[in-house]
Point group: C2
């Protein structure tokens, strides 16, 4: 947050209340967990791993519970089942709980080896632009430096005049694999989260030899979070309401059932090319309603607030500065 | 190396002799260093940082010299001048020298945040394909998982029938920066090295919605090395002979003076979009002579040996399996 201190505290308290209400509505069950990364206010760059309490009130600080635990979710995933069991024990202890108002949430994954993105992956988004339904996934990427926290600011770069929103279901890889079969692929998913695949349309459509990378990878162009919701906590990731609101107006509203290539198919596809590794983030494409295909087109401007929501996963809310 | 043990030892001894001869010809002067990453034979996954002795005979093992030193070149670069001074001291000591025959060289950078690549960046390569000279750099990327060592194998994937070579000058970022001015940009370069931007032309030209990422990022599609030659050891990086040989035949032969956007311009361009960070690798484009534009086209097949050479930097030699 780069707001003045007073608005910052107000914004954080607003977010904390909203999260509590959301969590109470969701009512997580079973062994499912919501893993977060955070920083204690005023503690510099020190990253911590936390598990959200199910009532949405507090976050259990794993490293406070056991100083030998990893400091990042990526390292926790590298421990495999052992890491998740540990997080489960820490959560069950009810100890080492920090108040949401005293922490800043970071993206639930930092410094992944890959941020894999999928283009044109919603039927209704293809229809909106009169584009054919792709026969194979269209894969591009962002650099990990684009990642930013669930309530951090989206920085409007002076180099683009056409910055647009794209709410997307994201998933994170939990174990290493190559040539993964589609029928085995879901066992490679650690969990799901919400992303905004912020895009500079001028760069995407008219510059850089039409290679999308630069348009998608400006610093802060990948808000992610608020939590990595473990796969066992999501009933059906391909039947979730997915929405984007700009300044409170709903601009995108669809369902992840519209995805053309679903989680397992994407893992099988990409892993024929590259070895996947714990922490790799996939952004699975956006539904219709982006700004560039409106008539006239609408782009983000300073002061706008973009909220991306996915059922069961939560909301990320980012101010444009 | 995935050769049987006997050919592996023979190949390594051949490589070691070649490096010694190359180093004697080069005659490094001044404070310049050749940083490498290596693994002691039979020591599993443990990565070490080394500095090549100027006669090309041995490699000083930094961690053996001082166990508190970083285990990777990326971490060494993160220490800034202090890291390089330390390496200089270790080299000057003449202690903790390991024999080249007993180590496996790794790429001089592992797990960078970014592998930034530039397309169509040699005048003579544009002419070869009747393409206009780009007015702005064309930037794409590989995932870090594509990196492989200077003498490791290039693995021919069954998913492509058109795997091609591209010798390229690579440079590595030494300090963090955003919106770097072209006139300051060279001070952000840690050093230079040799890359092969191996490319699956069928995927690049006819698949993945013409986004180049997948075609460029198959596992093992980025041989890099043999050393990161610090910037102060390279007289003029834009006046170096650059060659690729396949099975001993010269297939590419040009000079880095043919680059359209040179090191400083590329750093200024990319850093207007993303924050650069120590260890980021740039591949600066390839000269003419790639297989796909030959008549008839030629592609790599099992058993081929590809050697990429750049004056002052050295050679990487990779067998296709």
């Amino acid at each position: 947050m780069r707001l003045p201190l007073r608005s910052c505290i107000f914004f954080r308290s607003f977010i904390a209340q909203k999260q509590t209400a959301d969590a109470q509505k969701r009512g997580l069950s079973g062994a499912g967990m919501r893993l977060v990364q955070f920083r204690h206010s005023g503690e510099g760059d020190c990253v911590r791993v936390g598990v959200e309490q199910s009532d949405g009130q507090g976050v259990v600080d794993l490293k406070a519970f056991d100083p030998s635990m990893p400091s990042t979710v990526r390292e926790l995933l590298q421990l495999g089942d052992k890491g998740l069991e540990f997080a489960q024990r820490a959560l069950a202890s009810g100890q080492c709980v920090v108040d949401r108002a005293n922490i800043q949430l970071l993206p639930p994954i930092l410094a992944p080896e890959k941020v894999v993105c999928v283009g044109m992956n919603y039927r209704d988004h293809c229809l909106e632009q009169n584009a054919p339904i792709p026969k194979e996934p269209i894969i591009f990427s962002k650099f990990p430096s684009a990642l930013t926290g669930p309530y951090d600011d989206i920085i409007l770069p002076p180099e683009s005049q056409e910055v647009d929103w794209e709410v997307e279901l994201a998933f994170v890889i939990g174990r290493r694999g190559k040539h993964i079969k589609e029928e085995d692929a879901l066992s490679y998913v650690a969990g799901f989260t919400v992303a905004n695949d912020v895009s500079a349309r001028d760069w995407q459509m008219r510059r850089n030899g039409k290679q999308w990378l630069l348009s998608k990878t400006f610093d802060s162009f990948c808000p992610l979070g608020p939590a990595l919701v473990t796969a066992d906590a999501v009933n059906d990731p391909h039947n979730l309401g997915i929405r984007c609101l700009v300044n409170g107006d709903t601009v995108q509203s669809s369902n992840t059932s519209q995805m053309i290539f679903k989680t397992a198919a994407l893992i099988a596809w990409v892993s024929q090319i590259v070895t996947l590794t714990p922490g790799d983030v996939f952004l699975t494409g956006t539904p219709p309603g982006v700004g560039v295909f409106r008539n006239p087109p609408i782009f983000l401007k300073k002061g706008d607030v973009v909220e991306c929501q996915i059922d069961q996963l939560g909301s990320i809310i980012n101010k444009v500065i």
